[in-house]
């Protein structure tokens, strides 16, 4: 199987590899997949609480080249978007951008899941923070 140039590029020059502070209320962490399946993605976002814009995103992936490329691309795409805008990212957009063959479509699905999981985690943290803030007022 030969890879598209974009997948190779993301593999050789992955964007936004690293970690954000999991404990921060501004950070949402999505951990999806399972080692037994050969695919695990961790995607983290740092959101500006005023504007809901994703200011930073980081990823780490255990998986094939297509999985690495999908998650790397995901961090590129979410940066600068609001949380709601980021939720509109669909896996088929990733498939098209990276020219993923049918057998690798599931990698893009996992990347979409990772975005949602990170946003879901961040949202949960905001819900928990809200009552406290209301009380403080």
């Amino acid at each position: 199987m030969s890879y598209s140039d974009k997948v190779i590029d993301h593999y050789n020059n992955p964007r936004n590899v690293g970690s954000l502070d999991k404990s921060s209320t501004d950070v949402g962490t999505g951990l999806v997949g399972a080692p037994e399946c050969g695919d695990v993605m961790k995607l983290q976002i740092k959101v500006n609480r005023e504007t809901n814009v994703i200011e930073e995103a980081k990823f780490k992936t255990f998986g094939c080249g297509s999985a690495i490329a999908s998650s790397s691309l995901a961090t590129e795409w979410v940066k600068g978007k609001t949380v709601d805008e980021a939720l509109s990212i669909k896996n088929m957009d990733i498939v098209k951008e990276l020219s993923l063959p049918p057998v690798k479509i599931h990698c893009s699905v996992l990347a979409e899941d990772a975005i949602r999981a990170a946003i879901g985690d961040w949202k949960k943290k905001q819900d928990i923070a809200k009552p406290v803030a209301a009380e403080a007022k």
Binding site: Y3, I8, Y11, N12, N13, P14, V17, G18, S19, L20, D21, S24, L31, V32, G33, A34, P35, E36, C37, G38, D39, V40, M41, K42, K46, E56, K58, K60, T61, F62, G63, C64, G65, S66, A67, I68, V103, L110, D113, A117
Partner: protein, 425 residues
């Protein structure tokens, strides 16, 4: 606070392979297939244009010349495995030989019984054939293997009953290179009056095979695994003590003593014969050389990387095989990083079915480590310089991918990955 990980560029150019006299890409996947030995090609060439006759043409010199080439080859194959020429028949390859041996015995000895014993780590050519026979009403026992990849002889003994007609266990495994105790298996089979077939595809020409000493009744051989041509193989069929008979699976003319009809692939057979002759002469020196290369790679990699695990017994193993799992790194991404080296992986991502290697699973290797495995197959034309280059590239790629890996990060934080509740489970 964020930690930014600087990922070093994946750039093979910096290794100046050509400066070290290495030609890229490097081929280290000799269990998948082997390059043809130039001496084999030379031996084959006359049989395409000059000696092109049909070896079954009895009445003219074109046929006789072809027949002579075939019979010389037959002798060479017989000599390599300790058989007589009447016991060697030609096929299109080991897959066909496996089919012929198993189906041939099943049909011929149907009245005697319907039970076949094999192992879970066999090649698909054996497993799928057994599955087909199950559809026809045969009973098949798939023996498990131990952690080192070997079958337990007591398991085999217990599995045999009065309806058992065939045991088929491969001599050397194509993924992990592990060697089964064929002589003991054969001895047990002969004691019980059961026929013993071994898929010897990966063994012939690499380790000594002696059908008499090792009590083998049927053995499958492949040309392209031993620096010979693709599309040709052989099946050894014992004629004495006991005399084994098999039903043909291809009808039409009764060639090869009625066991395999069809015009012989004369150039291919000549090539197979020459490959066997070369192997007979060069095997002792070559297996030393291959073990040296294999051990050199193993020592370099294991010396530099932690959490790298060898799959299968090192003691009972083909000299040229190495199969390593690199924890926290997925196999296909590793192959991508060493894309100037041809090897293969047990990862699901590299298989057409997205299933991880069933051989590694049978060893009890977790799926995660099965996904992280690489198989190296050293061959006649590999060099020490190539091994050193490969070692360096593998080490740097594993280190690079571990920096990318959330599993490695979690492990370094002291998290036991087995305790984690994964979203994807």
């Amino acid at each position: 606070m964020s930690t930014d990980v600087k990922i070093p560029q994946a750039a093979p150019e910096t290794h100046s392979a050509t400066a070290k006299g290495i030609k890229l890409p490097i081929y280290m996947d000799n269990h998948a297939t082997t390059p043809m030995d130039p001496r084999v090609l030379e031996e084959m060439l006359p049989y395409f244009m000059e000696k092109f006759g049909n070896s079954a043409s009895r009445n003219h010199s074109f046929g006789w010349a072809a027949e002579e080439g075939v019979e010389t080859a037959r002798e060479r194959i017989a000599k390599l495995i300790g058989a007589t020429t009447k016991e060697v028949i030609f096929t299109s390859g080991a897959t066909e030989s496996d089919n012929l041996a198993i189906k041939g015995v099943a049909e011929m000895y149907r009245e005697k019984g319907n039970h076949i014993i094999t192992a879970v780590t066999e090649h698909k050519a054996v497993l799928d054939t057994c599955k087909r026979l199950e559809k026809y009403g045969y009973r098949v026992t798939y023996l498990p293997v131990q952690k080192d990849g070997l079958i337990d002889l007591d398991d085999l003994k217990r599995a045999m009953d009065d309806k058992t007609i065939l045991v088929t266990i491969m001599y050397a495994n194509n993924e992990i290179g592990v060697l089964q105790p064929v002589a003991e298996i054969g001895k047990l089979c002969h004691e019980k009056g059961v026929i013993f077939h071994t898929d010897a595809t990966q063994a012939v020409g690499k380790v000594p095979v002696d059908v008499i000493k090792q009590n083998i009744d049927l053995a499958s051989i492949s040309g392209h695994k031993m620096y010979g041509p693709k599309g040709v193989g052989a099946l050894y069929v014992r004629r004495k003590n006991p005399r084994v008979q098999i039903s043909a699976i291809i009808d039409g003319g009764g060639h090869e003593r009625g066991m395999r009809s069809g015009t012989l692939n004369v150039p291919g057979i000549v090539g197979l014969g020459k490959a066997c002759a070369i192997a007979l002469e060069e095997m002792p020196k070559e297996s030393c050389h291959l073990a040296g290369l294999r051990n050199r790679l193993k020592d370099r990699i294991m010396g530099k990387l932690d959490e790298a695990y060898i799959n299968g017994s090192m003691e009972h193993r083909l000299p040229g095989n190495l199969n390593i799992s690199f924890a926290y790194v997925e196999g296909e991404s590793l192959l991508m990083g060493i894309n100037d080296i041809a090897v293969s992986s047990g990862s699901a991502c590299t298989s057409a079915t997205l299933e991880p290697s069933y051989v590694l699973k049978a060893l009890g290797t977790g799926d995660d480590l099965a996904h992280s495995s690489i198989r190296f197959g050293f061959g006649r034309f590999n060099t020490e310089a190539e091994v050193d280059y490969v070692a360096d590239r593998v080490i740097e790629t594993v280190e690079r991918l571990r920096e990318l890996s959330p599993l490695y990060e979690m492990a370094k934080e002291g998290i036991n990955l087995k305790d984690v509740k994964w979203a994807g489970e």
